[in-house]
């Protein structure tokens, strides 16, 4: 809960150089590195409606333009609309006489209503529906027909251009023209220009090109009525920008033309490490479930550091800092505090270069990640404050859920360990602040951790990987502001 409501006092350095709290980080068990939302690959897993929690296959979602077929949003305040029923007395139809008895029975009719802004589908004159879900009038984009005409036209031109190019290649006319200009590079317009200039474009001028009518300009421009400025204005009847843009296809100006909008779907995402393509998280398929099939969060693998308390940081002085370390794994952990500069550079482990591998790499540019290293950032670590790290290996016991009830902290004799309790450890540390630290500025100290990690992934048959690893992580501790 503290992670949700409080500022992030402790930030970890992700392998891509971003500073994030531990709850926002992932841990790839295959690369043994910390990853964050910024440096992993997100993928759309499944579509669902967040209102009715109904899954929708992605092909159907594509067909329905990512809209739920049964839920609607209020076009006025964007809250979800609810269906309300009324009893409608069928109109007495004198022509029908009393031939049909069932006609006289009251019928249930449904309309949509918003509980937030009290908008109803009756406000805009949509007739009530006899069925509870669906059947609401669908609108088409007023420009769709013209856009489709244009599309056919340009497709025909592109096709024709391609055909001409093929013909030319066949005839060994390889010269494309003297000038490389903008038209060549992006426009479709070379053929268009030729077409318009009346040059014999080609024998295969399709009907789409022949029948196409370009837009006609007119001298008339729609003017406001002469007395527009004296007309009464009622701002309540004119839609706001948000209301218009919610219906991007219609963009009504008058509030009377707002229509219920089918609710947009949401997606479940799975996340993948970019370096090794393994999944970091994979949600369960069921939209009602918030659980994951794969959930490699840093919170479950990396020792968690929390501040218990600290003395106000003063320039040129040494102040006390109490930290709590937690081992979230099911194995004993050796932790050593280091200065950030003592962390050994992660040498790029070049895989044994088999000819096949390198060949594959040179052929497959898509997977070549070496040049994306350009984007790798170095986190700017604070230097004004330094945590005096005693050079001692600390042992953190494994997580033991039963030990939670054992509430008798063991007092260790060591001068830096304040207490020890199951998989937790409280440390008494010193923070040395440089004399030049600016008073009033944020006091931040960097600290590195070396910790042992036991990999529980069953090793691949081919290469038995070592199970125990020594890993490093760097974190930045926020200690309020530097005092005067």
């Amino acid at each position: 809960m503290a992670y949700l409501t409080q500022p992030d006092y402790i930030k970890y350095v992700c392998s891509c150089g971003q500073l994030k709290p531990i709850t926002n980080l992932y841990f790839c068990r295959h690369c043994l590195k910390i990853r964050c939302g910024f440096c992993i690959c997100h993928e759309v897993d499944s579509h669902y409606c967040a209102n009715c929690l109904e899954n929708m296959p992605s092909s159907e979602a594509r067909l329905k333009k990512n809209r739920c077929s049964s839920c609607f949003d209020c076009p006025s305040c964007f809250h979800t609309l609810s269906t309300r029923a009324t009893i409608a007395q069928p109109r007495q139809d004198p022509a029908a006489g009393d031939a049909k008895i069932e006609n006289k029975q009251p019928k249930k009719m449904y309309y949509l209503s918003c509980f937030n802004c009290r908008w109803t589908s009756r406000d805009v004159g949509i007739p009530d529906q006899p069925v509870a879900s669906g059947g609401w009038p669908e609108r088409t984009n007023p420009f769709a027909a013209r856009v489709n005409q244009l599309l056919d036209y340009y497709k025909a031109i592109a096709q024709q251009e391609k055909q001409e190019k093929l013909d030319r290649e066949r005839k060994k006319f390889a010269i494309r023209g003297k000038y490389m200009n903008l038209t060549d590079k992006t426009g479709l317009t070379g053929a268009m220009a030729r077409n318009i200039a009346g040059l014999a474009s080609s024998e295969s001028s399709s009907s789409a090109i022949a029948n196409f009518v370009p837009s006609q300009a007119s001298e008339e421009v729609e003017e406001l009525p002469e007395d527009y400025h004296t007309q009464e204005v009622n701002l309540k009847q004119i839609t706001s920008m948000r209301q218009r843009l919610r219906a991007a296809e219609w963009q009504p100006r008058s509030a009377a033309r707002l229509q219920p909008a089918a609710r947009a779907l949401s997606v479940k995402r799975s996340q993948r490490c970019r370096a090794c393509d393994h999944n970091l998280t994979k949600p369960e398929y069921n939209p009602g479930s918030v659980k994951f099939k794969i959930e490699l969060l840093a919170y479950y693998h990396v020792p968690e550091v929390k501040i218990i308390s600290y003395e106000t940081v003063k320039p040129g002085e040494t102040t006390a800092l109490l930290l709590k370390l937690t081992n979230p794994t099911a194995h004993e952990m050796q932790v050593r505090l280091l200065q950030p500069q003592d962390v050994p550079e992660v040498e790029e482990r070049e895989e044994p270069k088999s000819i096949e591998k390198s060949l594959e790499k040179s052929l497959n540019l898509e997977k070549d990640s070496s040049w994306s290293k350009v984007l790798q950032r170095r986190a700017a670590l604070p230097t004004a404050c330094a945590v005096r790290a005693p050079d001692a290996a600390l042992t953190l016991a494994q997580r033991d859920d039963a030990a939670e009830y054992d509430d008798d902290p063991q007092h260790d004799t060591s001068d830096i360990i304040m207490w020890r309790k199951s998989n937790k450890l409280a440390l008494r540390l010193q923070v040395a602040t440089a004399a030049g630290a600016a008073p009033g500025g944020p006091a931040r100290a960097a600290l590195a951790l070396q910790y042992s990690y036991r990999n529980t992934v069953p090793p691949a048959a081919a290469a038995p990987a070592p199970r125990d690893h020594t890993l490093y992580t760097t974190l930045v501790i926020h200690l309020g502001t530097v005092a005067e």
Binding site: C77, C117, R118, R122, D123
Partner: protein
Amino acid sequence: MSQNIKILPGATVCEDCTLEGDITIGGGTVIHPRVTIIADGGPIIIAEYCIIEEYSTIIHKKSDKQENPPKPLFIGAHNVFEVGCRLESSFGHIGESNVFECRSFVGVNVKIGSGCVIGAACNLTVTQTLADNTVIWGSEHHNREALEKQPSQLLQLDFLSKVMPNYHRLRKPNVHKRLPSRQSQEISK
């Protein structure tokens, strides 16, 4: 303060509420427990079929230019005051079929027509006049005009006036213009 509370027959008024000053409560109106109604600057008249829910407050404030005799604050029929709302008004007329949603606040200088909805937690402090059928919602006070008045809560009123006597002590109607209804007789027994 002079206590002059008139409860018309058919009204359901819980005992556990603060009523001060000259207050008239119309028939069919339901006042839940823990409601505060203070007629400080003049009488308050609440018409028929209103629902005033828990922790709502209606105050007729004293104003500087008080007339003599003080003008009443008239609250029309079919108004709904939801939980925790607060209405402060110096005098005047509040229309009918309004809904004051939960924790809404209506300040002194607001004139309210009929069929308005003041959304949950909306603080109306600015001097303004709400035309009929205005709906206000959200922290930014978005507003719109509804086509028709809010439907009246007759079913709910019916239910409340049946159920409330079973669980709460009620104040008895003290004005007997007409014959007291069968229900209120039962309560008084």
